[in-house]
């Protein structure tokens, strides 16, 4: 049986939320908040339902014809549900966080409206059943993120928005061209078709390569792979929840997820290997990983450092994708979730420091651990996870990636992993040292740049608890990775579905 309503309703929850929020007046704070939370929770429930149904073996599909050979398809398959789960879970956290973060600031209506749109499009990306549908939501994401990036309305923010658009829209055009070429070559090609494009290999090798280059090139911009990463650090001017969502879930992950789709569901991994594109991709990803870490090392401010670390971390996913073999895939998929959790935690912490203490630069963070213990603890967890130390989530993915690399006979990838881990350590441990071992304003030496006591606890509760939750989640995801329905478990499910059909 096919519950076509399920994916559609899941998509509509946040769309409706957006509409409702847009129609509500600016100062109807309570209503807006409740609408937000209601939608978020509802979405989580629906996604959970989908997960259950998928694990029961159903693939709920909703589709209708748009034009001749092009359909609009929403399909809840394992991979999609995984991404949907991530986005909806983190949406809840981020929404709660954002409510606290934007307390009393202007244009909240606009913010939350586009915020919901942004998540709706992320969900659409997750559930898209063919390239056309994917494209629709991909572009929607670009549009709905722009107002969030320029939210502050300052010159800096507007410039950042312009850069962002230059990158993403050009990428969208490239992607569109690739998609059209593909459709012209193959006609309607759903993600769920087992065939892959293998039978075109004989006489269209060059065209296939070109299309692959166009598609992945277009997606790589959002995935912020070097040298197409320029927009990401600039987009840091956005408010903390936005950068959290941007960098942890929505945008960069959309790109990585797209690459996943292209390789696994469009081309098929065997064909990709045969075309030899995976190796190239692995090299690009490795370059990105190392380069991002190095640049992060050079940053003096917290958020840019996190941004560059995102650049390097997201490429782990791409790297894992390009390793032929189940382990690499598991690593990639699990990292999709793990990195989301950890990075979102880190950005929450950064936001908290900025809000509570006005701390933006790293050298202002001395001794913040005493003033904001929970935040700093969460930050520590996130950072150690990024380094890839057990028992945190980062270790799991690193492990699987490394093993996958060895089994794919790409030993140099292990070297890359080790190098990036030590680089991560080199740019995260000093921060931790400052947090815990230096003495700062909290010990009566100097002043915080702009301290305000937002809450009874170390900061406002709305800001605190989401962060604590994600931190615990990223701890649990590693510590109890063996549990059923844990990210790792789900990822392996997808991966084995991919390799042993």
């Amino acid at each position: 049986m096919n519950a076509a309503w399920l994916p559609l309703t899941t998509l509509l929850t946040s769309l409706l939320a957006a509409v409702v929020i847009f129609t509500l007046p600016e100062n109807a704070r309570r209503l807006r908040t409740s609408a937000n939370l209601l939608a978020a929770v509802g979405k989580i429930i629906l996604v959970g339902l989908m997960a259950v149904r998928v694990s029961a073996g159903h693939e709920d599909t909703f589709s209708f014809q748009i034009v001749g050979n092009v359909d609009f398809v929403l399909r809840a398959d394992a991979l999609g549900v995984m991404f949907a789960g991530l986005s909806s879970l983190l949406w809840l956290c981020t929404t709660v966080y954002a409510i606290g973060y934007l307390e009393g600031s202007a244009n909240r209506k606009r913010f939350f409206g586009f915020f919901s749109l942004c998540v709706a499009s992320t969900l659409g990306i997750a559930l898209a059943g063919n390239l056309f549908t994917f494209l629709i939501f991909y572009e929607m994401l670009t549009l709905s993120t722009y107002p969030l990036v320029v939210h502050a309305g300052t010159q800096k923010a507007l410039d950042a928005g312009r850069i962002y658009l230059r990158y993403t829209l050009s990428a969208g055009v490239v992607l569109l061209l690739g998609a059209v070429l593909l459709y012209a070559l193959t006609g309607e090609h759903s993600f769920s078709s087992e065939a892959g494009l293998g039978n075109y290999l004989a006489d269209h090798r060059g065209l296939l390569l070109l299309i692959f280059a166009l598609l992945v090139g277009g997606l790589a911009v959002k995935a912020a792979m070097v040298p197409l990463h320029g927009w990401l650090p600039r987009a840091m001017v956005a408010p903390a929840p936005v950068s959290a969502l941007l960098h942890a879930v929505a945008v960069v992950k959309a790109g990585a997820f797209g690459i996943l789709r292209v390789i696994y569901d469009l081309y098929g991994i065997e064909l990709s290997v045969e075309l030899g594109v995976t190796t190239a991709l692995a090299v690009m990803a490795s370059i990105t990983i190392i380069y991002g870490s190095l640049r992060a090392l050079a940053q003096q401010e917290l958020k840019p450092r996190l941004a560059f670390s995102t650049i390097s971390q997201v490429s782990y996913v791409v790297l894992g994708v390009s390793l032929f073999g189940p382990f690499g895939t598991i690593g990639a998929l699990a990292h999709l979730l793990h990195q989301g959790l950890m990075k979102v935690t880190l950005f929450f912490c950064a936001g908290n420091y900025a809000e509570e203490l006005g701390v933006h630069r790293i050298d202002e963070m001395d001794g913040a651990g005493r003033r904001m213990p929970l935040t700093s603890l969460a930050f520590t967890i996130g950072a150690l996870g990024m380094i890839g130390l057990p028992p945190l989530a980062g270790f799991i993915t690193k492990w699987y990636l490394g093993v996958g690399a060895v089994q794919a006979q790409m030993y140099w990838v292990v070297a890359v992993l080790v190098a990036s881990s030590s680089l991560n350590a080199m740019y995260f441990l000093p921060i931790l040292h400052r947090l815990w071992f230096r003495t700062g304003p909290a010990h009566g030496q100097g002043q915080w740049p702009k301290e305000q006591r937002l809450g009874r606890l170390e900061t406002h509760g709305w800001l605190l608890w989401p962060m604590v939750f994600t931190a615990l989640a990223s701890l649990g995801a590693g510590l109890l990775a063996g549990l059923p329905f844990s990210p790792l478990d789900w990822a392996s499910r997808v991966a084995y579905g991919e390799y042993l059909p």
Partner: protein
Amino acid sequence: MMSLLLVLSLLWPLGVAMLVAWQVYRAPAGRHDYFSWWWLSAAWPALLLAYGGEVQWTIDVWMLGGEWELNTLTRPWLAFTALLWSLAAVHARGYFAAEQSQAQSGDQAVQRRLARLSLLWPLALLGNVMLIIAQDIASFYLGFALMTFAAYALVVHSGTDKARLGAKAYIILAIVGEGLILGGFLWSAGEADTLTLQGVRESILVAEHGAWMAALLCLGFGVKAGVIGLHVWLPLAHPVAPAPASAVLSGTMIKAGLLGWISVLPLGEAGMSAPLTQLGQVMLVAGLAAAFLAAFYGVFQHHPKAVLAYSSISQMGMLTALVAMGLVAPDAWSILWPGVVLFAAHHALAKGTLFMGTSISEHMPRWSLALIWPLLALPGISLAGAIGAGMVTKWAVKSPLYEMEHDTLIKLLSWAAVGTAALVSVALWRQWQQRQPGGSNGWQWGAWLVGISAALITPLWLPLPAESITMPPLKEWLGILWPLSVGIALVATGRLLLRFINTAAPPAGDLWWLYAGVIAAGLGPVKRINRGCSELKTACVVSCRQAERSLMDALTRMLEAENWMRHHVSGLMMALALLLAVLLIWEGQR
């Protein structure tokens, strides 16, 4: 029941840590006891476990699938580790009594330091225990990393510049080590698609690049175990760390590296491949080199703890050599390993006690020196193998080597023992020079005394397999005793010779300064390149800006054409009509 104890031995320190954190966060900093009974008891469940007997437990939900067990090898290991940790804890209570009172009198800095230490101490312990009982890679790596990073607080405790330097050296090398270990684990486990240390051993044994994996892991653990070349953190970290911290550092933590070797290297396995044997030989040479060079370098140190650190390096060198024998002569291992464990245990206790002793000599109780100094000397003498457990240990490692006719190695070890003796005597003499009466504390010397006795009778309480350890026969005593006297004699004569030449002590942490210099020299060009790149980038940005501006101007000028078109619409229409007509006609004619 046992598995419950297993879990308890892990959860207890964690609970203690949380308790401390809670106190630090909640209770008014003024009056609370950083070294409460809870805190002291952190290691006791582990001790209990060690004597409880062997146990095995598998947990699937744990990370990549946890597999914990306590076997014949790890039981004694856990025993001496837990014992030393508890003793050090007790000693710490005395050692920090002064700071404790300062803290209660409201000195913020001290409060911070103590809070940090008392919080991270149990965590380091937890890591140490976990890596001993872990049989799966993830848990082992977790324990190792946890211990390593938590110990940072122990090293940096005093917060002085030297302490910072020591801690820096410690953490940097630790990171290097972690990286190497991760690489080695990934490689070996990836080849064999395994998750347990057992699997790693097999994979190293059979894999074609096994030797290289082993080399990676050896170096990684070697950082902890103070393999020559990677040992530089020991002499830098030990002198600055508080005595109990140094005790556990050099007593148990560096043994963790040793345990790492033992648990990943296919020691004593049949069918050892040639590269592995070569690796073993390399280790052997490195170990012996460490044993001798460290001794030679150490005797010139001034700070007693530095001297002891070098002696640790030299001792670990001997252990390295012994482990290497497991690769070089696999069949010897089965009878050799109890000796190795005993060696490790005895060294742990003795060295721990020696380090505690340094604090005793700094705050001497009101006893006669004639009582104190022999007590201080006892563990050293035992370490040199002259009495008590030392003799047994020496014999326990020698006899298997005898049976396998590795006479040269035995000789070399004996000579290394000379070095040990020399180091110990130098250490005692330096302590004598820097002795200060007063300010002693019952907990402090209590723990110390217990430690001494425990060190002397190590074989009696160490839960080794039965009959694996025997007393040396009388005819061997000479061969075991002579190094001590020779060592002392050497030191005395050297002292006499060098009395008139005033020698400045060579800096502790020998090679560290070399590395630092090299790296600094290497960083110079990197910095320059970096600056060049950034300048280049800014230049590009500027030029692009200019280009954009001029382009925009050109565009605006070009758009003036719009007006022209507006004025000539009708003309253009005529032209278009003509053009179309001509084209159509022309095409039609063709």
